[in-house]
């Protein structure tokens, strides 16, 4: 049996494009270019062959739809495949009179039929990846039309179950990885762009560089998320140091520190199905097992909201970068004290790592001289420390009470009087 044989690919190869008409006759002919009618049929068909074939046909139709028609399909998903309230009420009434099958009836009634529809679409060849791609379009549509959110609620629910941690497959990405996967690493790198294959090589081939990704068995050629790691002696605070093309590589065994300098989600359609914290902790544990000399695991991360925040607070009167002392205080203040409406760190990267239970460990000035680094982060980068012994307790503390793990020096810096603002407003006259 060919390794990646998919049933439906085979079936369709054998039986050909005439399958559906033959199987379904006039009913299908009438529906054949209408994904909504086909979806109703898919929910009632009982055949393995025809079910797979219809699922494939629906996904193919959806992939070719114009935006307007896709929105109409989403609207139908929202309205025609929704829970039947009366059925829920009836089931609840059965529960109340202690009907033994009442609770199950309730559960079934409360699950919108589109969930089962998604499950059946998943049987199409490449179904999982195609559903993830469909959700990507759904998320775009959602921005303009929040009423579609129930569809996403269901799809995300399923994807969370299917992309359960128990199903993720970790894999090392290196210079022996197939090019078809490597080109996706180039495409998906979101933090420090990779411009050429030569640059990619400098991140993967040297023995003091590592890259790890999660894959899902149903999407074996698509990385879900990946993290790039530099093995160093001591904590590095400058990204150009790490990325410079001409270096002599360190022997992996000589390293005492692993720097996670880039972490990128690959699948926009999996937003909200998070793997990042898990990947970092897994990689840290794996590296520790392979290289017992590693003592410190930390990130080298941007502070992407710093410039905007500083400006909004009036700290950058003429767009000029403040003096080092001041900038350092500003960054500490921002990272520790600036909060979003939910009381979490305002900076998204800080929110992610501190939320994972990492410690805000060190603030580095002049750490990223790239245009993006200057514009967004004022050149500042931060090391967040993942200490395997404390990361979980801190993660719980953050979740329970919003407590941040902050190195003493940064804590005291952030607690000091606010940096003196240049008082731009005092000169109205």
């Amino acid at each position: 049996m060919p390794k990646d044989a998919s049933f439906s690919k085979l079936v369709m190869g054998l039986i050909g494009p005439g399958l559906l008409p033959r199987l379904w006759g006039q009913k299908l002919n009438a529906a054949q270019n209408d994904p909504i009618k086909l979806s109703h049929m898919l929910l009632t068909t009982r055949g393995e062959v025809s079910g797979t074939a219809i699922a494939d046909h629906i996904l193919t139709l959806l992939e070719g739809l114009s935006n307007a028609k896709l929105l109409a399909f989403f609207a139908a998903l929202r309205d025609d495949f929704e829970v039947d309230q009366e059925a829920v009420q009836a089931a609840l009434d059965r529960v109340k009179i202690n009907d033994p099958k009442g609770l199950q009836a309730l559960q079934m009634a409360a699950e919108p039929p589109r969930q089962e529809l998604f499950r059946r679409l998943n049987a199409a060849p490449g179904g999982t990846g195609r559903l993830v791609a469909l959700r990507c379009k759904l998320l775009k549509a959602l921005r303009d039309d929040p009423s579609l959110s129930p569809i996403d609620f269901d799809l995300r629910h399923l994807l969370r179950s299917w992309f359960n941690r128990g199903f993720l497959m970790p894999a090392r990405i290196d210079w022996n990885t197939p090019a078809a996967i490597l080109e996706k690493i180039i495409a998906y790198e979101a933090v420090h762009a990779i411009d050429t294959w030569d640059e990619l090589r400098t991140r993967l081939a040297p023995q003091d560089r590592r890259c790890f990704a999660f894959f899902h068995p149903a999407m074996p050629n698509e990385p879900l998320i990946f993290v790039e790691v530099a093995l160093t002696q001591g904590v590095t605070g400058n990204i150009q140091e790490i990325l410079k093309p001409a270096r002599s590589a360190l022997a992996a065994e000589a390293a005492d520190t692993a720097i996670f300098y880039s972490i990128s989600n690959c699948q926009a359609g999996l937003a909200g199905v998070s793997f990042g914290a898990f990947l970092i902790k897994q990689v840290a544990a794996d590296l520790k097992a392979e290289l017992p000399g590693l003592k410190t695991f930390c990130t080298l991360s941007p502070v992407p909201g710093l410039a905007r925040w500083a400006k909004s607070q009036g700290y950058l009167p003429e767009g000029k970068r403040p003096a080092p002392e001041t900038l350092s205080s500003l960054a500490a203040d921002y990272l520790v004290n600036a909060k979003d409406s939910a009381g979490r760190p305002l900076d998204p990267v800080a929110r992610f790592h501190l939320g994972n239970g990492a410690e805000l460990h060190r603030i580095n000035l002049d750490a990223d001289s790239s245009a993006k680094g200057e514009t967004q982060s004022l050149g500042v980068m931060v090391n967040y420390l993942y200490d395997l012994d404390t990361v979980e307790a801190r993660h719980e503390a953050f979740a329970a009470s919003g407590t941040l793990a902050v190195a003493r020096a940064i804590r005291s810096q952030s607690a000091r009087a606010k940096p003196h603002k240049p008082e731009p407003r005092t000169q109205p006259e």
Copy 2:
């Protein structure tokens, strides 16, 4: 990263048995041998490391529980992790006043918390397989205590989603398959027992024998179901013919018929999550692609309920097997006309294949001389024909209206006057 590295195995290797106490302190110490308390904790913990560790700990505890204690755990699952009816009512009230988040609240309220518990247990090392094993025990407990059925309803729901057709991996089993998997084929063969490795070899190694299985990526060493196939010239009606040890094998290219002579489910814990029909159809399609000379795909199947039914109808007065003519009519009558309370074929094997859309093709007498074959099937075996062109339509017809696909000759035989019973009751004297 080692290929089958599981995060938790690594984490636990690194951090050791002291992890849980360190992470959770007194709270965990108090709970540490109580799977119910631990399950509550697992539902509230947010840590990846601790969550995985607790899930593993719970499963390990459950695997060691006495039967009585396991029943107590199941009872708690049923009662303490059930839907909160009031919450459902409250959510339904929100729906009725068109609260936009009402339907989602309803869905969440209608899902018993044990579903999320099972999802989290799945993250333990080998979690999926361990949950399947747990369900096996649950099904046994259910026989004595039907009140546990809501737990099974939830677990089956999850397993059906996780073992979605899109996730199954077909694989050929042959003499190059690892012994660790082959010994499971020996253990799980349910139709025609395999007594020795030499016997196994005669079913796998010759070029006119094939075996295919489904695997799931989260249980890579456990076949879920497998089917054994003989490639022949013409339809064979006798199982000893197929199983005889000393044969000269046919060149695979010379075969025109594929006989599915044994199909075995391997995981009792996956009862009700069916793959059989799908496997047969996939294998038929794959074989057809590999060997275009194959024209006929059919089974050689026992009629396990025949003897019992014939006795119950008074056709076997002294336990004697009737004359060939009579037996043939009896079998046709039984297979076509004997129905269960739901109106489906009484014979379980007939129910399975006719339900899949296969045709009752040929009845063979003196077809199985084994003790089991004699006792249960009176030596009769049946060929069910899988015709790729019609199987789906017949499957639908069966499901919609109970229509059976029966070869003309058998149909007419079964329609004839009942075989003359030896009138056992007329001789009381």
Copy 3:
């Protein structure tokens, strides 16, 4: 056991750099930077561990030698590891008096000790590849000093035995091949240079493009030779047509012709150990098995000696390219009639393909507009046809009597009166 564990790598990792001194004491210390003395020792040592360690040490020394010192080593190989003529004479004398062991003694005496030395060096980690690299340096040295040829005679003899056709492993190269191998394809492409990874992609990823290589099990990451193939409808005569980046790919099943448009040897150190003819024939047979629709197998090849030859014959008076008619005749004349001193075709590419038994099938003008194509081949390219039914007989005919297989049209063109030369000499008066 790790898959690519090499004994010596392990041994040296375990026992460390102190191994050799400990094993060999003063004798080795004295020799330790002298590859010649070490080579003598290697021939006498009997230990597996020490033999491997010394072999590795010698190769490492040689890899670091200056050119002058390497030449001295080669000189020693030639003189000190040569056959002992007196021993040969003595053995021959034994043969003559019918000493039963005489012939074996003769064989042993006639084999220079450096052959055994090379065999023992091969046991070092990566030994085979390192010997191939050493031969590469030897071939360079040979150009200046033909007296080194006996060394090459021995080394080539061994490599021919080790790279016996029975040991070559064919492999498809595509976009799923590890980048570490693909970068070698880029580096080694000798006919139509590959400038970027994007260009490489256009040669590997589309379904109407194929690439195949031979590997040797002892050099699993090093292609030995590779061929690039375009699947087309009809014979294509223009290389830019094939290489153009934006094309819509043909379905592989729709192709009737396979064009071998580039074939490159990768290992200069394997010069004279030829695989090319074998690879083309194997690929043709494999493609035919996979795609029965393929009817024609031919190359699209440059005529690299055409311009030089035409100039030397006075056909290109002012470096101007002749009119199409004339050029076509010129090319036919050159390919069919111009011979080297051994009577074989003067053009090296023609010599290779006609020698393999291919037919000179079609001459294409304006077929390669690249600078190299213009300068060397005057824009001409040739299709050589590999007809599986006749290729072997023609191969034998070529070898036996120099007979060339030439398409009728070209044959008659080449037989016609020579193209009229512009008679540059006729105006002296």
Copy 4:
């Protein structure tokens, strides 16, 4: 390209049985069932396709020959494919007058044509394994007809080059190994027979048992040699202890000793191409790298010549086994002092391990209660110690001067007065 596609299999599949006649016409027809004539043709053909086809045809013919006809073929190999003495003399004469090509001519003249014949046969599908099988028959023939030894001299020479240490692939054999290979382990185990698959399982599956083999890339499904290892605490001196079916396995990390308790050569056709010492040393090094807790590497070996020798020396007057004290002295005396005509240890197992540089470490009485153990070894087994630090020096010492490494206690025991013989002859009366 299918993974194990062999060119010739493909070619023959495509072109069919008519290939040879078509390629070679009458000449081949005349020769077609005569392996000798075909061998002459193979040496002169130049075609890749036809060469491979003829090689396959010759091997197929040879595999079907009666014994008498095979002997005739061997005789022809000996006589018709032998060195031409006159050519050797002529070449030698060229050498003497300093003809620069003289030495190469000499080498070529001194190599019997059958060597090139074997090389060409190797290109047939599965050629290497088939040549090994052919040599197996040759070795049998040699016992009756020593005049065939020159053929074996050539074949062994080639096999030694092809099975060079640099080409051997180590692999772990365990319960995940394909059954097709495991059944060969059962078949080839030469020391302690494996009767059933269950017994095999007890040697492979427990975590304190290991098995390693060497493979050659050209015979990927045929182990060449394998060694079975028990991981223990302390040196074990009793084989039933190791082989007993019901044991609780030791955690591999808890072991301090690796006992090599069985080593079996699999290919009789590779006699004289030895891998044993190399395998033991490689496995010791690999195990040490994986399990740093291992401190001692030794064998548990039979003393297969002990009973015969003791009888021949008159120590076993009535076939009775002597008292423990006496037996121990006898064994020490035998192992240390009994020598073959070449002055090496008389016992073949002692010769092998002491020759490898191992130390005669401990003599165990009542160590093997099997019938074979009693009959051959009088129940005695020996531990030979492989000390990585000294094994090589001892190996050299053995080779240079026959020095044996013997533990002090055994040395002194063997040096003491001979055990008192029961003087059976002194009581004639």
